[in-house]
């Protein structure tokens, strides 16, 4: 018999005992749902944890310094210092070179300085931090009031909420307002004095002002990379911060150190790569270029191992319900054979081969499995949504931001339906072969 005819007959037969077959299908659906709910929880928690880790910037960042910087002035015996007199400065050329390395997303300096802000005519002291464009994706700005910087060069500012409350308790009213950044610009001494003396590496400090428009207020404290922006309370685009040439906290160290270079150099650079797994290789390449490089170990690897075990355990518990559903399918089909002995006899008398009868029961099991699988995935997704909703209501009461704790990726949908189909076909094996073996004469005599 052709598959289409077989399926038509199978669906028809299933409809004849609609209540029993619906209950069996529902059993499969509950089994699949528990499997999907368990695994979606595992997957969701894993995604949540790994995205938090990835967004933290801790595991896909490399911290680059000039080699001498690690040693510090006067460290080590003089012989060693003499052996490496030509440590490469971490200047603009080095930044470009590192940017060109494979898998590097961006390279940026850490810019942070303590300064005074005037708002509404009143002075406030605060820490200003430059934010790279990539920090928009870090998750720290999700759910912020207002918006992220309109462009990397916009004269705009985002306030950390604690600081924003100091300016105005109604933080929403701050957006669109202007504030004045008063900062000390670093200027090289020769140009300042104009006497043409050789560059001594010193600088003078000139007070400057910068007008910034407030575009947003962020609740969580953005962190990006180690030594990052954790303590920044007034955030401005990094390119804008670079143009300010503000005197930074570590500038004094530059003065003390013999830079032996007339170009401005970075005290450190943060290098972000595409994924945590690429950190090791990129770090080695940066060291080959002659810089000091440092990163945290790939913590995500051990996390993945933990979640594989976690998923396995959840999957086993979920499968138990499906195992019970399998027994339900076997029971239903064996009952159907008893009820339909005569029909099987008629089919055989009309010329149905053993394989036709076997396939018919097989397709019936398959249809129940498929329907149960589809329904189960839907139920499982609902359970996941309910868990997420419940968790978020709880988190909201604790004044914590909401999270997505359940995820149903396409492979889980396909896998669950496929698994339900497979399990139901296995469950159909015994009833189908028993039906196929029925002797037509006995089956027709059966009343």
């Amino acid at each position: 018999m052709k598959l289409r005819d077989m399926t038509e007959l199978a669906v028809r037969n299933l409809r004849e005992a609609i209540l029993r077959n619906s209950l069996t299908t529902l059993g499969v659906a509950v089994g699949v749902a528990s499997l999907v709910a368990m695994l979606s929880l595992g997957v969701g928690l894993q995604q949540l944890a790994s995205s938090r880790l990835a967004k933290s910037g801790l595991f896909d960042s490399i911290f680059v310094t000039p080699k001498t910087n690690l040693r510090g002035p006067g460290a080590g015996p003089p012989a060693t210092r003499a052996a490496a007199p030509k440590a490469r400065p971490l200047d603009e050329a080095a930044r470009v070179e590192i940017t060109k390395l494979p898998n590097v997303i961006e390279v940026y300096p850490q810019i942070r300085f303590f300064t005074e802000v005037r708002f509404d005519g009143k002075p406030f002291a605060t820490m200003v931090a430059g934010m790279p464009e990539s920090s928009k994706q870090s998750g720290a700005f999700d759910g912020m009031q207002g918006a992220f910087f309109s462009s990397p060069n916009a004269d705009e500012a985002i306030l950390q909420i604690e600081f924003a409350k100091e300016l105005n308790p109604q933080t929403a009213q701050l957006i669109g307002k202007e504030l004045v950044l008063r900062y000390a610009e670093r200027q090289s001494l020769p140009s300042e004095t104009g006497d043409g003396a050789p560059n001594s590496g010193g600088f003078s400090v000139v007070p400057k002002e910068k007008h910034l428009r407030i575009v947003g207020v962020v609740e969580t404290e953005p962190a990006s990379g180690f030594g990052g922006f954790g303590s920044g309370r007034l955030l401005i685009p990094l390119p804008v911060a670079e143009t300010l040439r503000a005197a930074q906290v570590n500038d004094l160290r530059d003065v003390l150190r013999d830079t032996s270079s007339d170009k401005p150099a970075y005290a450190s650079l943060t290098v972000r790569v595409k994924s945590p797994s690429l950190v090791d290789a990129t770090e080695a390449k940066i060291k080959q270029l002659g810089f000091g490089a440092f990163s945290l170990l790939d913590a995500s690897k051990s996390m993945r191992i933990f979640f594989s075990v976690f998923d396995l355990l959840l999957g086993i518990f979920g499968s138990l319900a499906l195992a019970v559903a399998t027994l339900g399918i076997i029971n239903t089909l064996v009952m159907a054979i008893l009820e339909r002995r005569r029909e099987i006899g008629v089919l055989k008398a009309l010329g149905a081969a053993d394989s036709d009868v076997k396939q018919l029961f097989f397709v019936e099991a398959g249809v129940m499995g498929l329907a149960g699988g589809v329904l189960g995935v839907f139920f499982g997704w609902l359970i996941g949504q309910a868990l997420t909703l419940g968790t978020n209501i709880y988190l909201k009461r604790q004044d914590l931001p909401g999270v997505e704790i359940s995820a149903v990726p396409w492979w889980l949908i396909a896998g669950a339906i496929g698994f339900a189909l497979l399990v139901s076909l296995i469950a159909g094996l015994y009833p189908a072969s028993r039906a196929a073996k029925l002797n037509p004469v006995d089956a027709l005599r059966y009343e």
């Binding site: 007959l9 005569r342 036709d356």
Partner: protein, 255 residues
């Protein structure tokens, strides 16, 4: 006058020393015991005998529903005893049609769907099926009410449907196991007249099991009487040639 044989002159069935024994615990029951019989192509043969005489068992053996313990049943040059289960299923599907005392229509299918069932099994193209079903239903004069379910019909109509189902795959031999057993005598007569008509118009071989000797004598060409698993006697009936069968019995239930 005996019915016509096919051009080849081969019999439809040649049964040679066939026995069918059943094991019941310690003892063995000889349901069919060393029966030899030739059924010429185109003949309407009636198998007579009391209950337990082995006539139904013999019919099942000829129809390929059961296998003989010994002996051979040859149809179209093939010994049914030696066919594989699949080949035997194909024989049932393509070469023979089956009609039962209790009709054995599938209760949740309409008449049309019941008649279509052998076509599904034979993997006949969907486009061709409707015409074949219609043709078979017209042959048994049941072109109307074909969307109804068996329970909505009279016994006679159900048996006509069963006959249409048996004919739809254009078999060479039609087997009927007590086709009138569940019908009143008038309807039974109409069914037998229909079978007789089919035999003549389709040049069909028919083997019918019955215990209504008077009907068998009127409609069959030959009677074979069984008792205790053995073939006791065969005798021509001298029934009128099939074309002369009066048709008033069949017209009533039809249009």
């Amino acid at each position: 006058m005996p019915p016509s044989t096919t051009a080849t002159g081969l019999p439809a069935l040649r049964i040679d020393h066939v026995s069918r024994h059943y094991r019941m615990g310690e003892s063995s029951i000889r349901a069919v015991d060393d029966v030899s019989l030739v059924v010429p192509a185109g003949e309407f043969l009636a198998l007579l005998g009391s209950s337990g005489s082995g006539k139904s068992t013999l019919l099942n053996l000829m129809a390929g529903l059961d296998r003989p313990t010994s002996g051979s049943i040859v149809s179209e040059g093939r010994n049914l005893a030696e066919l594989s289960p699949l080949e035997l299923a194909r024989y049932r599907r393509n070469t023979v049609g089956m009609v039962f005392q209790s009709f054995n229509l599938l209760p949740r299918m309409t008449l049309e769907e019941n008649v279509e069932l052998p076509l599904r099994l034979a993997e006949v193209e969907r486009g061709e099926r409707a015409a074949r079903v219609q043709e078979a239903l017209e042959r048994v004069r049941l072109a109307k009410r074909t969307g109804h379910r068996p329970s909505e019909l009279s016994g006679g109509e159900q048996q006509r449907t069963a006959i249409a189902r048996a004919l739809v795959n254009r078999p060479k031999i039609l087997f009927a196991d007590e086709p009138t057993g569940n019908l009143d005598s008038a309807t039974g007569e109409a069914i037998l007249a229909l079978l007789r008509e089919i035999q003549s118009t389709m040049d069909m071989t028919i083997v019918m099991v019955t215990h209504e000797r008077h009907l068998a004598e009127r409609f069959a060409d030959r009677l074979a009487t069984m008792g205790d698993g053995k073939l006791l006697s065969t005798a021509a009936t001298g029934a009128p040639a099939s074309t002369q069968v009066p048709t008033q019995a069949t017209t009533g239930a039809g249009q």
